[in-house]
Symmetry: C2
Subunit: 269 residues, 2 copies
Amino acid sequence: MAQLIISRKNDLVKQAAKLGQSASFRRQEGLFLAEGARLCADAADSGAVPARVFYTARAREKYAPYLERILARAQEVFEISEPVAELLSETRSSQGVFCLCRMEAERELSNLPLAHCLALERIQDPGNLGAALRTAEALGVSSVLLAGECCDLYSPKVLRASMGAVFRLPVFFCGALPQALAALHRRGFFSCAAVPDPAALPVTEADFSRPCLMAVGNEGNGLAEETAAACTLRVTIPMQGRAESLNAASSAAILMWEMMRPGRDCREG
Amino acid sequence: MAQLIISRKNDLVKQAAKLGQSASFRRQEGLFLAEGARLCADAADSGAVPARVFYTARAREKYAPYLERILARAQEVFEISEPVAELLSETRSSQGVFCLCRMEAERELSNLPLAHCLALERIQDPGNLGAALRTAEALGVSSVLLAGECCDLYSPKVLRASMGAVFRLPVFFCGALPQALAALHRRGFFSCAAVPDPAALPVTEADFSRPCLMAVGNEGNGLAEETAAACTLRVTIPMQGRAESLNAASSAAILMWEMMRPGRDCREG
């Protein structure tokens, strides 16, 4: 039987709300807050064991199949009132399902699978990061490497935009990408720097028969110069219009698509 | 010499703020508010004549080259105080440059250029709409058709995410897409419905040698069934992971890329 929480001032509620809001508090506690029936069920299924689950009476009826998957893994379960759900929610119309999950331990870079990989450098927009993770998973990219100061992987916006990819796709972290690249090149990776430079190699002409790390840079400034210089190749998406560049997530989508493209052994003339 | 406005209660300021906030007010007035030095300069360059320009003293110094382009086309010019700029701004750190622009008259669907085109049906997220427009322009897609109730093309978020593509790319509107498709097919278009269905034709195998309308649906529900049924072909992006679908803007990016792909005459086996 779930305990009922109706006060927004309850300590567990205050902690959960703060986990939704503060990246530094998430790091300190090693916990994050997931919201939404589907996302919480994805978290439970993928083994990001929900330490603590909160749901409203309305959600218990409406999202019963999801809650079953979630509660099978939960350690502590609380029913919450609608005002408490509103406090915890990031969205205007909350589904009333939340769980606290434990962050995974940071992966050793030496364990990065030797297969096509996306690297994002200093990505700032949570929507872009989440969408890129979602696309990476859908296209079968094996892992994602976050380099430098990116927005927080565990922010509610990233979790939502990723549609649960955060729970399934191995995400690695590194400080400066050039140093990481040196080690990855020794392991057999080659690397592509995505640059908005018409003189760079069109991505359609790159040879992806070896494991590739595709590096995409910050929304405003692209990749750091040192990073582009440290990559094996500079590749570009040929553009025809007056726009000078693409949105980071759209650009990453096209680059990953080319890297993973079915029938890619057919070489272009 | 620009008139100075320091009161947030000034009628022109109140009107501009309301234009930033309300789609129905924008439609009623036939005006919209653009924000940012680069975006306002793009608007001026593309002939969306800024009827009225507002800038702060700080912006006049910092963005002089942009303001020159803007003021060359402006009908009325006002210097505003920082608090007024904050009121008008959609972002946390405003550049302090705004202009009111006149909406273009709605284009006749019969004038849709007979060339590759993107159709978006009931797209709800301004970030997705703006990113799709930006990608369409960058890849050389000739026009975009917005079908059904989409988010407002002239909302500040769409304008910003489009990076000015709104001012350069011809955007058309229609009600129900199936009816519009009937007329477009008669004119020589064929159409592709993008569906997350592994049984549909992989987009890599579609023949884009004739003018194609690529139809992408709503974020949550995809294309309406009637729309998918009215299209010539159902195409899909082959997926390998556990994700069932892509973000609408990422999906549109990959589909447009394939439609416009350089060297596409090389047919896949």
